[in-house]
Symmetry: C2
Subunit: 416 residues, 2 copies
């Protein structure tokens, strides 16, 4: 599987003063990697003309594909567009489609289209415009000798949208002749090294054109098999045979054989089984409900979440008893249990999940930071579990969110 070599340049002073954490490069690297394009280097430079030109020169010496993000907004610190125009010896021209799109955007936002906004519709005549349906700055595709240079806005959702709709399909056509297929196995409950040990022989026996990647997340490890070959039909058959082998070996910890998120897996199970879910969240502050409602169609099964951040609300909304709070404290097995039972009643759902915990230090706290209790209840059954997360506030909240959804899935899954 020898590969096309790519480099990624991200532009912006905010990256060099550490104000912004660069998530764009990781996303781009993942997507290129999934297509079979290797990333050699990722470079971040400031909004500085010569730094950008040097970086382009340097990266083009080694890479056949260069992806540049950032530096394309309408203000004066955005210098990439004229710079690329000059670099590739073009002339700035107004693009009719971009201009039309800008005028529509401005009028929809009730803003006047000013003279200085005209510049936003200009592109170098030597590039192919990659249309940006989500924002104002168009992407640009330049061909230079046998290399490709793509420039994209730095706003993450605009970058993602242009990559998915415009750039990736063209890159597929341009660089990839063989079919490239993926199959996924999602596991939960064991770590990367446990899994690696367990499947070492299967991994070693993979043919050269199929490779395995481990993609660990909170409480879950995703295994991705990537195969490349001239014939889609036989490659599909081969990949699925491998997928089955790995899935059989890991049987007990397999969650899904598709590339789904935990919230998608929940949405599918609840809608297929015609069941409903309600939540009572304390320390996760609505984050589990937020994740669950990211999936279109979740309103069919998800009744809602009672985010009860103060004890008083746990009493009035969920009916947690004052004595229970007094005797055991808000972060306890007993309160988690009463919260879940309260949610079952208040939300009249088939299943209910509750979570209560301490995520950052508090003067009057009687439990250690990171202690979290969760309960799942429904169909006359109930499970409660204690967790102790070792990270900072944000990461502990994320962990509690993932582990909570996983706990719901294990509970309902064990019933079917």
């Amino acid at each position: 599987m020898s590969n096309i070599a790519a480099a990624i340049i991200t532009i912006g002073d905010e990256l060099l003063i550490g104000q912004t954490i660069d998530t764009n490069s990781a996303w781009i690297a993942q997507r290129l990697n999934a297509m079979g394009i290797d990333v050699l280097r990722r470079v971040a430079v400031g909004d500085d003309r010569s730094a950008i030109v040097n970086a382009i020169d340097h990266e083009l010496a080694d890479a056949s594909l260069l992806i540049i993000t950032g530096g394309l907004g309408p203000t004066s610190d955005d210098i990439t567009k004229p710079l690329l125009n000059e670099y590739f010896g073009g002339k700035m021209v107004v693009d009719a489609q971009v201009l039309e799109h800008l005028k529509v955007l401005f009028s929809r936002r009730n803003r006047p289209f000013l003279e200085r906004n005209m510049k936003q519709a200009e592109v170098p005549d030597c590039c192919k415009v990659l249309f940006n349906s989500m924002g104002t700055a168009p992407g640009m595709w330049f061909d230079k000798d046998d290399k490709v240079i793509i420039s994209l806005p730095g706003v993450p959702f605009e970058m993602v949208s242009i990559m998915e709709k415009e750039a990736l399909p063209r890159l597929q056509q341009r660089f990839i002749s063989d079919a490239l297929l993926h199959r996924t196995i999602i596991t939960a409950g064991e770590g990367e090294s446990f899994i690696a040990e367990k499947i070492a022989d299967l991994e070693a026996a993979l043919p050269a054109h199929i490779r395995l990647a481990y993609l660990p997340g909170a409480g879950m490890v995703k295994l991705r098999l990537t195969g490349r070959g001239p014939d889609t039909v036989s490659l599909t058959r081969e990949l699925e045979a491998q997928q089955n082998k790995f899935a059989e070996r890991l049987e007990k910890i397999v969650l899904a054989l598709e590339d789904l998120t935990l919230e998608q897996i929940l949405c599918r199970w609840f809608t297929e089984n015609n069941q409903t879910l309600g939540l009572a969240e304390s320390c996760t502050g609505g984050n589990i409900a937020h994740h669950i409602t990211q999936v279109p169609g979740s309103s069919v099964y998800f009744k809602g979440s009672m985010v009860c951040y103060q004890n008083e609300i746990k009493e009035t909304v969920l009916g947690v008893r004052r004595e229970t709070l007094g005797e055991f404290g808000a972060i306890s097995e007993q309160v988690a249990t009463e919260m879940a039972e309260g949610a079952l009643k208040t939300l009249a759902s088939d299943f209910a999940f509750s979570v209560t915990g301490l995520l950052s230090p508090l003067d009057e706290a009687t439990v250690p930071v990171g202690r979290v209790w969760m309960t799942v209840a429904g169909k006359g059954r109930l499970t409660t579990r204690e967790f102790n997360f070792p990270y900072d506030r944000e990461r502990n909240k994320d962990m509690a969110t993932s582990m909570g959804m996983l706990m719901i899935w294990k509970f309902v899954h064990s019933l079917t």
Copy 2:
């Protein structure tokens, strides 16, 4: 604004396949920047000998300070230490302090200290050891001509610990430079180009040692003034005078003169004014509560959120009347109003905010996708507003979340 120039190299294959988001560089950049050291470039390369050597050569051509993280662990893919030893022409020697520390660590973890672990105590004899109290791999400081090269482990808390205890104090001594200060103006309600137009003359009149950056977010634009000079006192005065000029010009849209998030601004206002807040969320699915509870201390003012994803729950939990839902539909001014009034009662809070909307297509929908109604209520007053967001589900949810928090702020702020 001439300054010491630094570069950061992060090493690890996981960075190039997008498996890990690089947070180390942002942290390092922030700390260097605060000291007045400019970061010219950040580069990520894989665990590959020649890629690392090339990156070092290339960065040392421009930078006086090079900070390298990663590639120092005990496994076979960690190649940085022998490579740096060779690069700087040293010889590997056992460091007595590191060896002692390793033996203590191993015995504390109940693991035998094996012969192969001796290698972990070896360092190039041409470096100054930067002691790692949090882990096994020591940091290394190399002097080459008038340049400094620092190598640190990639584990974030080990890197942070060595930087703070060992590297930063030495860097402060070694590279004395000007003070570097920032001032922020947070605005809401107008776009980047509107603001740029409005302050064009002020921006053009900035002295050479003060520069302005635009940092746009959902519904908000942050303006950052960065100044550099030998005297902290006069620079502070000058920066604050500039900050006031810009703030006066943009008066109507200024939210804060500090670098705060919207949720931090809310937390401050509510705690300072000793008021409480409750939410009733439908289409944002708990995301506003999630944002609000990201701020430590939010439990003082934030009572909770009734995430009522189904109409039935809007009735039972918030007391929205069935006739209102029937006559006007769930996404209407009337339902938003009754939701907020219900939240005021259910949560017994001083202020309540409600949001109901359609974020993605639905068969029986009677309103367009992106239509959202929001209400803020409290102190006998009530405001309701309609929004029409033009993006996809996720982005519309993010926009509704930001605009909702902004609407709360404007409402409560207008009372003081």
